[in-house]
């Protein structure tokens, strides 16, 4: 099946190579209605009805949650919270292929933008840099930095594709940069690879060994078909390799890289990092900010070591290099360290248990848990506080809130 798709893609790729460029026509049209037959299913009496998306979505989410929790339960929960991530975008000729609509490049760019925002939301102390492969060479688009806006802006300005792709050149470049970052940081590379070939100047195996030695975790998301060299790279360096089937799958795959990966003790050495907690500048005070080199009134932070003014947190002081954060930035990462346990699905048989008073509404949102036909709908229960929750709350609690309302409203003795 996968082979089939790959074969088809490759063929399409070759077909499309001739009619390069001219993507504007595609962009205008709306593809929402395509493949509408896939959203239908047949019920027992042979009638067509829309797919039960909610149940499917929830099943999918639970699978993801389970895989996450088993991974973190097997060892002591240590996450690499301070990450230095290089995103490598393949903007070679293959990125203009239109098997993703309107093109692979547009899909990649759109999802990378969403990913960058999500990444900084989840990892406020981490940094990202962008690298582009084009015409057989790799060059750095942005340097490591903590501001999502600057990365997105730089990316959107450079969306053109041409030439061949070179995995080795990209790895060499990233290796050069990542080798210099402090040892407490987790070095990560995420490659979004469209091409099916790599055009390298030397022996790529040596480069892969070099990356392995400097403890870079390389992950690849392929957009066409599985490639041995990518798989080999990911296996050697402990990364994830996946190939996207379609746009929504690609989005899912890239978002998997947003939460911090489990820390491997050998990869990042535990260390104490010196950080400053700047105070807000006094209202109405006028000073020259060190980031824009402009005079600004109020609304800023003062580096506690060199007293330079910066506009935004978190950042690194331009003058003395001290990492400047505020306590909410640290607090934003704490939920990775204290994750809440996945909820158990409640089967109808368990509900009849006599010693439990049956709970008719979701503890979180007060929505009724009983369907119109007095048939209890699928719901879940927290293993600790034994409260019932509806499926929507289950997803919200695990994906965004990171608190169990039931456990939080019991005083722990």
């Amino acid at each position: 099946m996968a082979n089939n798709i790959a074969e088809k893609r490759r063929q399409q790729e070759e077909d499309d190579d001739e009619e390069d460029g001219d993507l504007d026509g595609w962009g205008e049209r709306n593809y929402a209605d395509e493949r509408s037959w896939e959203a239908l299913q047949e019920d027992e009496s042979g009638l067509l009805r829309p797919l039960d998306n909610k149940a499917m979505y929830h099943a999918q989410y639970r699978r993801r949650l389970r895989s996450l929790s088993t991974a973190s339960n097997s060892q002591r929960i240590q996450k690499g919270l301070i990450r230095f991530l290089y995103i490598v975008l393949d903007l070679s000729r293959a990125a203009s292929v239109m098997d993703f609509r309107p093109s692979r490049m547009a899909v990649v760019a759109k999802n990378v933008e969403a990913f960058i925002r999500e990444f900084f939301d989840q990892n406020p102390l981490s940094q990202i840099a962008l690298v582009i492969i084009k015409d057989g060479v790799a060059y750095s688009l942005t340097d490591l930095g903590g501001s999502p806006e600057s990365h997105v802006k730089a990316l959107m300005a450079k969306l053109e594709c041409s030439g061949d792709s070179s995995l080795q050149n990209a790895l060499e470049l990233v290796h050069e940069y990542l080798d210099q970052i402090p040892s407490y940081g987790n070095r990560e590379v995420l490659i979004l690879y469209s091409a099916l070939t790599t055009c390298d100047p030397g022996d790529i195996m040596e480069t892969i060994q070099k990356c392995k030695k400097s403890k870079m975790r390389c992950s690849v998301i392929g957009l066409s078909a599985e490639m041995f060299i990518c798989k080999h790279l990911c296996q050697e360096t402990g990364g994830l390799y996946s190939v996207a089937l379609d746009e929504s799958h690609f989005k899912e795959l890239i978002m998997e890289h947003a939460p911090p990966p489990p820390a491997i003790a050998e990869f990042a050495i535990a260390n104490l990092i010196k950080m400053g907690f700047p105070q807000r500048a006094a209202e109405g005070s006028i000073s020259i900010c060190s980031c824009h080199k402009e005079c600004k009134v109020g609304e800023g932070y003062i580096c506690p070591r060199c007293k330079a003014r910066v506009c935004e947190l978190p950042t690194e002081c331009r003058i003395c290099g001290l990492t400047l954060v505020s306590s909410p930035h640290l607090a934003r990462s704490y939920h990775h360290l204290f994750p809440i346990t996945p909820f158990d699905e409640v089967t109808p048989s368990r509900q009849i248990e006599p010693h439990r008073r049956s709970q008719k509404t979701c503890f979180g949102c007060q929505q009724g848990l009983v369907n119109p036909g007095n048939k209890p709908s699928l719901h879940v229960a927290c293993p600790k506080c034994k409260q019932y929750f509806c499926l929507d709350c289950d997803i919200y609690i695990h994906e965004s809130l990171h608190n169990c309302p039931g456990c939080e409203s019991l005083r722990a003795s």
Partner: protein, 298 residues
């Protein structure tokens, strides 16, 4: 939720989730404002919000010492009953009845526990419940009232709830739900100050508790749309400096454990939270090669 023509939901329709602090330890100690008086201010306020717009909705969640629960929801059918017996307006009788049940339950749960030093209420629980409720409103379709949370809090902050409260604050920020807070306790609440600052809500600590109703109506009754035209109390300087885990003192500069992000005021050999053994301290002019020394594996 009642089915109303969708265009009636203009941008000034509010859903106010009121988090009511019912912590008995605080209210017995509070001499300036007895709970009954506080409650009558709040009831009048809740009524006035419901009067402002027929589509306005109020949900009251009580945060007690041992548990939290919903005690009033103006959209549920049960709250519309009770008018025919002609005793009391429905809101009062329903809310008071539920509140009394809640207080009895809260007290029962606390029986077996001994007296403890921290007398905080379960703010994190009621905040989490409020956010779940608001998500349900968001799910109900494109037309819904604009939600906000109002914390009426008097008890001091409970340090053990820090992570949970911060999680709730960030989730509220992500879904653009402002958290307003009116703090009637003795000292300022750092949790609520941060909550209101981060989510763009208003934090008020009334000077004259006798006039609580006036504070509530002038500041917290304004819907989100009108707020842009009104001079609301400006956020006073919120201190975002961290306090170290070892001495609980507020610090300007400190050391952060790279594994668990614990904060220390000076250099340690080993992290007291996660047990990681640290290598060399990161010197000010650090070069990576100096730091490549491997820490002994724990």
């Amino acid at each position: 939720m009642t089915s109303v023509p969708s265009k009636l939901y203009s941008d000034d329709v509010s859903l106010v989730v009121v988090l009511l602090d019912t912590n008995p330890f605080f209210w017995t100690a509070s001499s300036s404002l007895p709970f009954s008086q506080f409650l009558s201010h709040v009831m009048a306020f809740v009524n006035s919000i419901l009067l402002l717009n027929q589509l306005n909705q109020v949900v009251v969640i009580a945060s007690g010492y041992n548990t939290c629960d919903y005690i009033y929801d103006s959209s549920s059918d049960a709250s519309q009953l009770g008018l025919e017996n002609g005793k009391m307006p429905s809101l009062y009788s329903n809310l008071l009845q539920k509140l009394e049940d809640f207080m009895i339950k809260d007290e029962k749960l606390g029986k077996e526990q001994s007296q403890r030093a921290i007398k905080s209420s379960l703010l994190s629980g009621s905040m989490s419940m409020a956010l779940c409720y608001i998500q349900r409103v968001f799910r109900s379709g494109p037309f819904h009232p604009q939600p906000r949370i109002l914390c009426l809090q008097g008890s001091p902050d409970g340090p053990e709830q820090y992570v949970a409260v911060m999680n709730a604050i960030f989730s509220a920020q992500r879904s653009m739900v402002p958290i307003d807070s009116c703090y009637v306790g003795a000292h300022n609440s750092a949790f609520l100050q941060q909550a209101s600052y981060i989510t763009g809500g208003v934090y008020v600590k009334p000077q004259h508790l006798d006039g609580l109703f006036q504070y509530l109506t002038t500041v917290f009754a304004t819907d989100l749309h009108s707020r842009s035209f009104i001079q609301l109390p400006r956020p006073a300087g919120v201190d975002f400096r961290a306090s170290c885990f070892c001495h609980k003192t507020t610090i300007d500069m400190g050391y952060i454990c790279s594994v668990c992000l614990s904060i220390f005021c000076n250099h340690h050999k080993k992290c007291s939270t996660c047990g990681s053994v640290f290598g060399q301290a990161q010197s000010d002019t650090s070069s990576a090669s100096d730091l490549k020394r491997k820490a002994p594996e724990t």
